[in-house]
Symmetry: C2
Subunit: 178 residues, 2 copies
DNA sequence: GAAATTTGATTAACATGTTAAGTTATCCGG
DNA sequence: CCGGATAACTTAACATGTTAATCAAATTTC
């Protein structure tokens, strides 16, 4: 009906029919990254409201959670366990410190390093949020099945390990020996 | 500077020993959200360099990929299939349009709706990136195992479905006793 | 032991995630 | 018709993801 519809001049398609382009790629919605993204979002959707009601984002929660497992921890190590990039962590720590949920000091032995620990206020917050989080986690486990959940985590872990080997293997794909 | 070290006044711990706090929660690094996050990151780490070398982010790629499967698509539907929130999509479409990778027009029947399609330039870009992406995907499949990969995706899909049921079920949990 | 390099952390700049508010266009009951 | 309610985006505002640059402190090298 309308004049020009088919913007792709190189295509021999006429207009009118919702013709899919022929780019031979995997069904998009079933790609592994999309599957993982959707699954994770489905999980986090359960937790976010509770965290938010306590004034915490997912990442802030991860950091505080990680801090409850140690006395003090260095920034780099914290980034590793909370799975955050340095810049993100820097910003969040600045905010958490301003809210008195954590405490920092500089390592005596190495003035470059920062040591972080949770404050008593932060600990109280964790203790306030934990029951709900645990309840949600229990509900998820129940709905999906504890057995299956454990299996899923095993498979995810193995996927990680499989890909870790690729990290460097593909580096020389262009150079061939550099 | 080096004066006080133990900031948590309520804790009876001395300093020196890396004593973990006692907050009875699941091992942090093995939580389902973390497992999914790490797995997805391990996967995307493989693709990002290639996408980046073509000037595309992961999300921009998702959008263009989704557009190759249709002639035109409405913004809301595109958000659904590319799994992006409206605001993110709005910004990205603005950018992609400015780069002439997509084309938009307003639906004649409903002036609120926008119809999006990929441009020939966008299509060429897809065709330039696709081979490398497919090769990476094939390598991942090979390393992890095609059988296992399919099984993993099935399990992720079932996890989604399990949690979809929770969405509304937990709504009234707060008003019951708060 | 001073210069060069490396390391730990932060800052900068840009893109996206997330929720809330705003805009314009449809729909709908009176 | 008309005005309120909805719907489809879009903007706004703030937080994080991501890469590059910066900066100070530690390590290595000559």
């Amino acid at each position: 009906m309308a004049g020009r519809k088919s913007p792709n001049g190189s295509r021999s398609e006429q207009e009118g029919t919702p013709e899919p382009r022929r780019v031979p790629m995997r069904e998009f919605s079933r790609s592994l990254p999309m599957s993982l993204l959707r699954a994770r979002e489905a999980v986090m959707r359960q937790f976010r409201p509770s965290l938010r009601s306590h004034g915490l984002t997912e990442q802030q929660w991860r950091i505080l959670r990680a801090l409850t497992a140690v006395d003090t921890i260095e920034v780099t190590e914290l980034a590793r366990v909370a799975f955050l990039l340095g810049p993100s962590l820097s910003r969040i720590l600045r905010d958490l410190e301003a809210r008195d949920l954590i405490e920092r000091r500089i390592a005596k032995a190495d003035l470059r390093r920062g040591e972080v620990s949770i404050s008593s206020k932060g600990l109280k917050l964790i203790e306030a949020v934990a029951p709900t989080s645990e309840a949600i986690y229990a509900e998820i486990t129940h709905r999906y099945g504890a057995r299956k959940l454990a299996e899923l985590q095993d498979m995810l872990g193995e996927l990680e390990r499989s890909l870790a080997a690729m990290e460097v293997a593909g580096e020389g794909e262009v150079e061939a020996d550099e």
